[in-house]
Every structure is written in C-alpha cells, then in structure tokens.
C-alpha cells in the first residue's frame, strides 16, 4: 500500500511537472508566430516580457543613433525584427509582418495602437534573404514570377508592381 501511494504521489508530481512544462512551453510559443525564424530561437535580444513592454522605446532610441549618427551595429534594429518574426506564407515567400494575424498586428490590433513603421520600412525580410530562403525549397514555379532566376535578386516587373499597388490600396 505504502509503495503504491508513493508511486501515485510520484506520478502526481511528474504530471504536475509535465503540465507546468507544457503550459510554459505554450506560453513561450505564443509570443512568436509559428513558422518564423524566431520560433526556432531561444530568446529575442532581451527577455520576452521586457521586449513586450519596451520595444517601442528601444526602436525609437536606436533609430536616432542610426539615422543621425550612422551607427548601424545597434542591438534594436527594425530590419532584424522583421527578419526573425516574419512568417512564411504558402507560396514560398514571407507574409507581411503587419498584415492581419501576423506578429505585429496580433498585439497592436488587440491594444488598438497604430503601427506606422511599415509605411516606410519593408514589411518582409530583405531581398537577398527572400530569394535565398525561397529557393531553398526548390520549387521555382510557384512564385508568381517574382524571381527571374536562381541567382538574380527578387524583382517585380512594372506591371506586377502596379497590380500589387492596386491590391494594397484597395484594402
């Protein structure tokens, strides 16, 4: 009897431990978008809680350094945010980071805070990164003609750009 109680207790502790582990795991994952580079990384440039609270100040502080003083090896770079947190879309490219349901939008929409960064800044990882990672998959045909060939950077033809703009302006 004694031993079985012991086993039960031990099992209970194990279960509780596993439950706690899973819960924190789930909480940890919810901070990032599944399918983004950040999902496979241990931590951001600072702990998640700190980033949630202070990212806007960090970005604002470092943008002044970059633009005014030309210091580009800063810790808090918006381009790096996009690199890590943008999720892949179905067609081999990346989803725009501020589009509905994506990393920036999820919180900013919930908090009703306007996000002005991406009126000027690029919403997906850089051109060379895009063409590289898109080509890792190997199927070149499903890319809407954005990539001209394996070595050339991603590019839009003039008429494609006009179409894209028309789509963006509609919504």
């Amino acid at each position: 009897m004694l031993s079985s109680t012991g086993i039960r207790r031990f099992a209970g502790v194990l279960m509780a431990g596993a439950f706690t582990f899973l819960t924190t795991g789930v909480l940890g994952d919810s901070a990032v978008t599944p399918g983004s580079k950040a999902a496979g990384m241990e931590a951001c440039v600072a702990p998640t809680a700190e980033m949630r609270r202070n990212h806007m100040d960090y970005l604002k502080h470092d943008r002044i350094k970059t633009v005014r003083k030309g210091i580009r090896d800063i810790r808090n770079s918006l381009a790096d945010c996009v690199d890590c947190h943008a999720a892949k879309n179905g067609s081999g490219g990346y989803a725009q980071i501020d589009s509905e349901g994506q990393f920036c939008d999820k919180c900013h929409n919930y908090m009703a805070v306007d996000l002005a960064c991406f009126q000027c800044h690029r919403k997906t990882p850089g051109e060379e990164k895009l063409s590289q990672s898109a080509l890792d998959g190997g199927n070149v045909d499903h890319r809407l003609g954005l990539l001209r060939d394996k070595d050339a950077p991603a590019a839009l033809a003039a008429d494609e750009l006009v179409q894209l703009q028309a789509i963006v302006q509609e919504d």
Partner: protein, 258 residues
C-alpha cells in the same frame, strides 16, 4: 598653391559664430564642463574628421547617358513608383521622385553644350536645414545632408529653400521598399550619397559605380578633408567650380570643366 575652387572665405560666419560662442560660454557657467558619454560596444558613429564630397568632370559626362540616374533609382528604390493612371507625362516628370537628374547647359553665345548630373550639393551651410521647422532636415557630422523621415512632416519648405531643386516629395503609397532605403508617402527626400553604403564601409556611390561601368568615369566620390584621397588630389590639381558659388554655401559637390 591651390587652384581656384570658389571656396568662400567664411570669415564673416566664423566671426558671428565665434561671438555667439563666446557670449554663450560667458553666460552659461564658468567651471562647468560638458562631457559626452562614449557609447560602448557599438561603433562611434560618424565623425567630422571626414567630409564626404563628390567631383564631377563635366567633360567626361555624356549627353543622353542616364546610367547614374538609373543606378540611383534602383539603389534607393525610386523605381518602385510608377506614373499613376491618368496623369500626364508633364505632371509626372514635375513631381516624380528624383535624387539625381541630368542637366544640359548651353552657352547662348558660343553654342557650347555641357552635360552634368545634378543632385543634392551637400552644402556646409544648407538652406534646407535652416528652414526645416521640425529638425528633420539635418547635416550629419561627416557632411552628408539628409532627411530624418521619422520627424519629417512633409511641409516641403526645404524644397522651396533649396537653390538646386534637389529634393522631391513622395506623393504615393510605396510598397516593397528596400531594406537599406526605407521610404514612404508624405516625406521629402533627396540624395544622401548612398549613406547605407558608406555606413557599411563601402566607399563608392551607386551613380559613381554606374558611370565607371559605362566607361565614362565622370564621378569621383571621397573624403574632401583627407589630402591623400583621390578627390582631394584632383581638386588640388584642377580648377573646379561650385554651382551658385555666390550663395557661399560651400557645397560638397564640385564640378570641373564647367
């Protein structure tokens, strides 16, 4: 001896500046020393030990060649914008973003034609900075005049003030910007000597590379303050001119054979 280069003597400005500085130092506080904390773990940023400038040999610049303009458009993502449907060519050309444009000069008396690229002249005393109501238009320590789009409100006062018509305004939404060149609707912009390249340690601009690739080599970019640099040595040996030197803005872009 140095050649003629339209260099303003700047004595009046120095005198006024010196007087203000002396008055300021006297009234603020004797004995208080202002020190600037050094950033650690990061690069120190731009320094006034260098002043970037550009020298354009108008003899080598070829009519109808637009290599520099095209390279600039590509490098900075200016070609992301297209003429809106229904707009006339005249309207589009008057308002399109353009950081560098080709200009043709004709001497009415002799018929002599000169071609040259015209862009932000990166003045030491830039009128665009003087008039900016928000401080968005500024001059970096290394002499590059640029717009901080974070603070630009798009009032276009700087466009009015610039004697070189160097600035343009973005009228449309822009999508798919380049990482190195963020730009969007509602801000003024102009040539920034490919600042993302310079900060990355690359010492050429896109227009210079394109011009060299075409075999013209009309554009030389470099540090005006370094006597060893190519641009400084050419300026030492040849006559050069500033455009509208009468304004005494001490431009960073100089022209030879003009």
């Amino acid at each position: 001896m140095g050649k003629h280069n339209d260099q303003p003597d700047g004595k009046r400005r120095q005198f006024i500046g010196g007087t203000i500085l002396a008055a300021g130092a006297a009234t603020v506080a004797p004995g208080i020393l202002l020190t600037v904390a050094q950033a650690t773990g990061e690069s120190q940023g731009v320094s006034s030990d260098v002043r970037y400038g550009m020298l354009i040999d108008t003899d080598k610049c070829v009519a109808d060649c637009t290599a520099c303009v095209d390279a600039c458009d590509k490098e900075n993502g200016l070609d992301l914008q297209q003429k809106p449907k229904g707009q006339s060519d005249d309207d589009w050309n008057a308002q399109r973003p353009q950081w560098v444009r080709k200009v043709q000069l004709k001497d009415r008396q002799t018929g002599d034609i000169t071609d040259l690229p015209m862009m932000c002249q990166h003045c030491e005393f830039p009128p665009c900075v003087d008039v900016c109501p928000t401080g968005a238009s500024f001059r970096r320590a290394d002499g590059i005049v640029m717009v901080d789009r974070h603070t630009c409100i798009g009032c276009r006062y700087c466009m009015m003030a610039c004697p070189y018509k160097a600035r343009s305004f973005i009228h449309q939404n822009v999508v798919n910007q380049l990482v190195a060149a963020p730009r969007g609707k509602g801000c003024v912009e102009s040539c920034n000597f490919c600042v993302h390249r310079i900060d990355a340690g690359k010492m050429t601009t896109a227009c210079q590379d394109a011009c060299a690739k075409e075999g013209h080599q009309a554009i030389v970019f470099g540090d005006l303050k370094n006597p060893e640099s190519e641009i400084a040595s050419i300026l030492r040996e040849k006559n050069s001119r500033q455009i509208r030197a009468d304004l005494e803005l001490n431009t960073g872009v100089r022209y030879t054979d003009l």
